[in-house]
């Protein structure tokens, strides 16, 4: 019997031996980040998700980059000039740049990085070819000299400088030698870090190879899809930073003593769109929201500040338009929560309550699990609208497979819940969603000429002040005509271990170049 007990103890010891290493805090030169989405590729051109792009930015440099404050500062390039007609940008690269494999990084490589992403043979989709290039109407890139690269656009665009700063630069020879399959797994770094290992669905390990950039020698990105698991790993200090903290877990983290939540006002514009297309005109609700008075009335029906404090655990100011503060029209006051006003306006618009208390029925569609606490926020909005007699049926759809195709075809509605990425460096960046009536991002099919005809005035404006006047007038039209039921700019919550000092950015970018150990 005693013998058996010894064996048992020995067995336990063998089993428990790995514990010491498994549960240790990461070493001093290493930082561990817990992210929620899987990484798909390390090929710089087709990267599309935020998490994927965040990791890639540590591996690949860009010509310029956007600072947390919204300034655009040099990265691989040191200066640039714009042609007179505004359709070509010429960048001058820094001297002595190299890629990880020792190849010199010159203007030819920069031009190749752009042209490779646009090459139809590669059939890339993703942020660079799909969003940046179609926005700036990319025509081509060419090396003018050893250090100068010229990028040609289809038309002048005030935000193209910021968009070009999103394109990852890499070396030509190494990428020409690889198949697409190889390029997806073996990035050749032009930025400060390089890929050491990638276990899909589990973790990505980066290591610093440029001596003077970044404070940590190693960065480990761990993919942890379940919010509770991410929070538990953070509290246990196995992970230093986590993204997308669930609002109801904020207190648990703050009370843990080992980590805090760093909230930041994000730039993503969360709204409920009114789809005014003919697709819905013959439905009861679809017809009702064609009426601007109805749309304005509904603005008063939703208690946005309470949604923020209760469901998002964050004090927010309600949006007055589609432009991120502080670039909005300063004269506009957020619609207050005033259900009586809403009811009165609906009565006046010709939609009185019927005997059963219902004015009209309408469907509110939403994708699931994409934005902060979206499932609950959408249901709460449905309740607020139902409270003023607009019987709202909330339809929660699978995000990728069902909702995205609806949105892309501009067929979500008659009401739909969406968050649209924004920026702080220019009001026009946020406004380009509605550049023309037929724009792919004009999901509401809004067609008010008082808005759309003004873009010529924007282009014609000679000074920043003149342009600002037009912008303010346009934003007022947007506010009054209400194609969006205005909600809030999404806050982002990062869980940060007491071990590190990390300043979150407003634009959902997680860059760790300046992050360091706390107290250092």
């Amino acid at each position: 019997m005693a013998m058996k007990r010894h064996l048992l103890l020995a067995g336990a010891a063998v089993l428990l031996a790995p514990m010491a290493t498994a549960l240790a805090v990461p070493p001093e030169d290493t930082i561990v980040v817990g992210i929620s989405a899987d990484v798909n590729t390390f090929d710089p051109a087709p990267i599309s998700s935020r998490d994927n792009s965040n990791i890639a930015k540590h591996i690949f440099g860009t010509l310029y980059e956007i600072t947390p404050d919204g300034d655009i500062v040099p990265d691989l390039a040191e200066s640039y000039v714009v042609s007179e007609d505004g359709t070509s940008y010429t960048y001058t690269l820094r001297e002595g740049l190299t890629c990880e494999d020792g190849e010199a990084l010159t203007a030819e490589d920069a031009a190749y990085s752009f042209n490779r992403a646009a090459d139809p043979d590669n059939a890339f989709t993703g942020n660079t070819p799909g969003f940046v290039f179609s926005s700036i109407q990319f025509q081509g890139a060419e090396a003018v000299s050893d250090l100068e690269v010229r990028i040609d656009l289809g038309r002048p665009n005030p935000v193209s400088f910021g968009l070009i700063a999103e394109v990852f630069i890499h070396c030509k020879d190494s990428y020409e030698a690889m198949t697409l399959d190889e390029a997806a797994r073996n990035p050749v770094a032009s930025g400060p870090y390089r890929l050491v290992s990638w276990e899909p669905g589990s973790q990505v390990v980066l290591e610093r190879w440029k001596e003077d950039e970044g404070n940590f020698q190693n960065i480990i990105w761990r993919v942890i899809p379940e919010a509770s698991t991410r929070t538990a790993e953070l509290i246990a200090q196995n992970v230093d930073i986590i993204t997308n903290v669930s609002p109801d877990q904020i207190d648990a983290i703050n009370n843990s003593g080992s980590a805090k939540v760093a909230p930041v006002q994000g730039t993503r514009r969360i709204y409920v769109g009114f789809n005014m297309s003919d697709d819905f005109a013959d439905t009861e609700g679809g017809a009702a929201i064609q009426n601007a008075e109805v749309r304005r009335a509904l603005q008063y029906a939703v208690d946005v500040p309470s949604i923020c404090t209760q469901l998002l655990n964050f004090e927010c100011e309600r949006a007055t338009g589609l432009v991120n503060p502080p670039n909005g029209n300063p004269n506009l006051v957020p619609y207050p929560y005033d259900p009586e006003m809403a009811e009165q306006l609906l009565d006046e618009a010709g939609f009185p309550r019927a005997d059963n208390g219902v004015r009209f029925e309408i469907t509110l569609q939403a994708g699931r699990g994409r934005y902060l606490n979206d499932v609950n926020v959408v249901q709460a909005i449905g309740q607020f609208l139902s409270d003023v007699g607009v019987q709202t049926n909330v339809e929660l759809l699978d995000w990728a497979s069902t909702y995205v195709p609806l949105i892309s075809q501009r067929k979500a509605g008659p009401m739909f819940f969406l968050g649209s990425g924004g920026g702080t460096w220019s009001p026009l960046y946020d406004m380009t969603d509605l550049s023309v009536v037929g724009a792919g991002t004009n999901y509401t099919h809004w067609d008010n000429p008082d808005w759309f005809d003004r873009w010529t005035d924007i282009a014609a404006a000679e000074t920043e002040e003149e342009r600002r006047v037009v912008i303010n007038e346009m934003l007022e039209v947007f506010y009054e005509d209400s194609p969006w039921l205005l909600l809030y700019f999404q806050p982002d919550f990062y869980g940060v271990s007491s071990r590190v000092a990390f300043e979150p950015r407003r634009d959902e970018k997680v860059y760790l170049f300046d992050t360091k150990l706390a107290g250092n």
Partner: protein
């Protein structure tokens, strides 16, 4: 997890001797019930299980009368109240959830939907499976081959993948859930019914019916079917339990019922963000409801098996 499709307890199913298709008279039926009740009382636990299930059924039927609130009435200003809280002049027995809905009311309404999903899925799967099994076993030949290969295909397909595929595409909905979970069960029934039918097909009383000129449907449904009802009830009682769990798992993946429809599984799935914040009641009450119900179905299934299998009773 119970989304697999193995024929659960297949081997634990009693091989019941053929019962001649004599219609039992009322008195005999009563006698049978008495015997069943006595055996339940002796085993004790089945009585408790029966009592619990009775409570669940009462909640399901009379839920709307018993519930103090509309289960979908939200009030985000009083969200996440602890149990036994008063807010204004409303009393929340089991607290409120993340949208300020009354947990007690949702639990009562949840009984209805959870039970509905469980029983309907079994009915769907059972009906398809029994018919397929009867046809397969009775006729044999190529029909048998086709049906059994279809069953093999489904078994080789991890069922949860099929469920996810269809629910992602069809969207969440009570009917879709019932269909998907029901279809997930049919092979279990088909295999057992087929095996039983194969052995019954050659029995004298079936031959007799055939000789008397009974039509084929009549032989299948009136002569053979009554003889395999007993093992089917055993499997069904176990399966209700696993269907309720499957529904919870699908809710976890966001593929369960729409959020306006309360089920125990979806309530449990919604509570998962709250566990780390110690809001235990959100998980505890639906959890305990699932555990008790599933437990009761399992106990009844166990008892039924013992009751219907004479061999087990010989053990001292």
């Amino acid at each position: 997890m119970s989304l697999g499709l193995k024929p659960e307890h297949a081997d634990a199913v009693p091989s019941v001797g053929p019962v001649p298709p004599a219609s039992p008279k009322g008195r005999e039926l009563r006698k049978e019930f008495k015997r069943a009740w006595r055996s339940m009382v002796v085993a004790k636990w089945p009585v408790v299980a029966l009592f619990i299930l009775l409570c669940v059924v009462i909640a399901a039927v009379f839920g709307p009368l018993l519930a103090p609130f509309d289960p979908n009435r939200q009030n985000i200003m009083i969200r996440l109240l602890d149990p036994l809280q008063q807010s204004g002049n409303a009393f929340y027995l089991l607290g409120t959830d993340a949208l300020g809905r009354d947990v007690f009311s949702r639990l009562l309404y949840g009984a209805r939907i959870s039970l509905l999903v469980g029983l309907c899925a079994i009915a769907v799967g059972g009906t398809i499976g029994v018919i397929a099994g009867l046809v397969s076993g009775y006729f044999g030949g190529w029909i048998d081959d086709v049906i059994m290969r279809l069953g093999d295909i489904q078994l080789a397909f991890p069922f949860i993948l099929l469920a996810i595929m269809f629910l992602v595409v069809l969207g969440p909905g009570v009917l879709n859930i019932i269909l998907v979970l029901g279809i997930g069960q049919w092979v279990t029934y088909a295999r057992i019914v087929r095996a039983q039918t194969l052995s019954l097909r050659e029995k004298e009383f079936v031959e007799a019916a055939r000789a008397l000129g009974d039509s084929t449907p009549s032989i299948i449904f009136r002569t053979i079917l009554p003889n395999i009802v007993a093992p089917l009830t055993v499997i069904a009682s176990f399966n209700v339990a696993s269907v309720i769990l499957s529904e919870a798992a699908l809710s976890f993946l966001g593929l369960g019922v729409p959020p306006s429809v309360p089920t125990w599984g979806s309530m449990l799935a919604e509570s998962r963000d709250q566990l780390i914040a110690n809001r235990w009641w959100l998980a505890f009450f639906p959890g305990i409801a699932i555990v008790l119900t599933v437990l009761s179905f399992n106990i009844i299934g166990d008892w039924l098996r013992d009751f219907l299998d004479p061999r087990l009773k010989t053990i001292g």
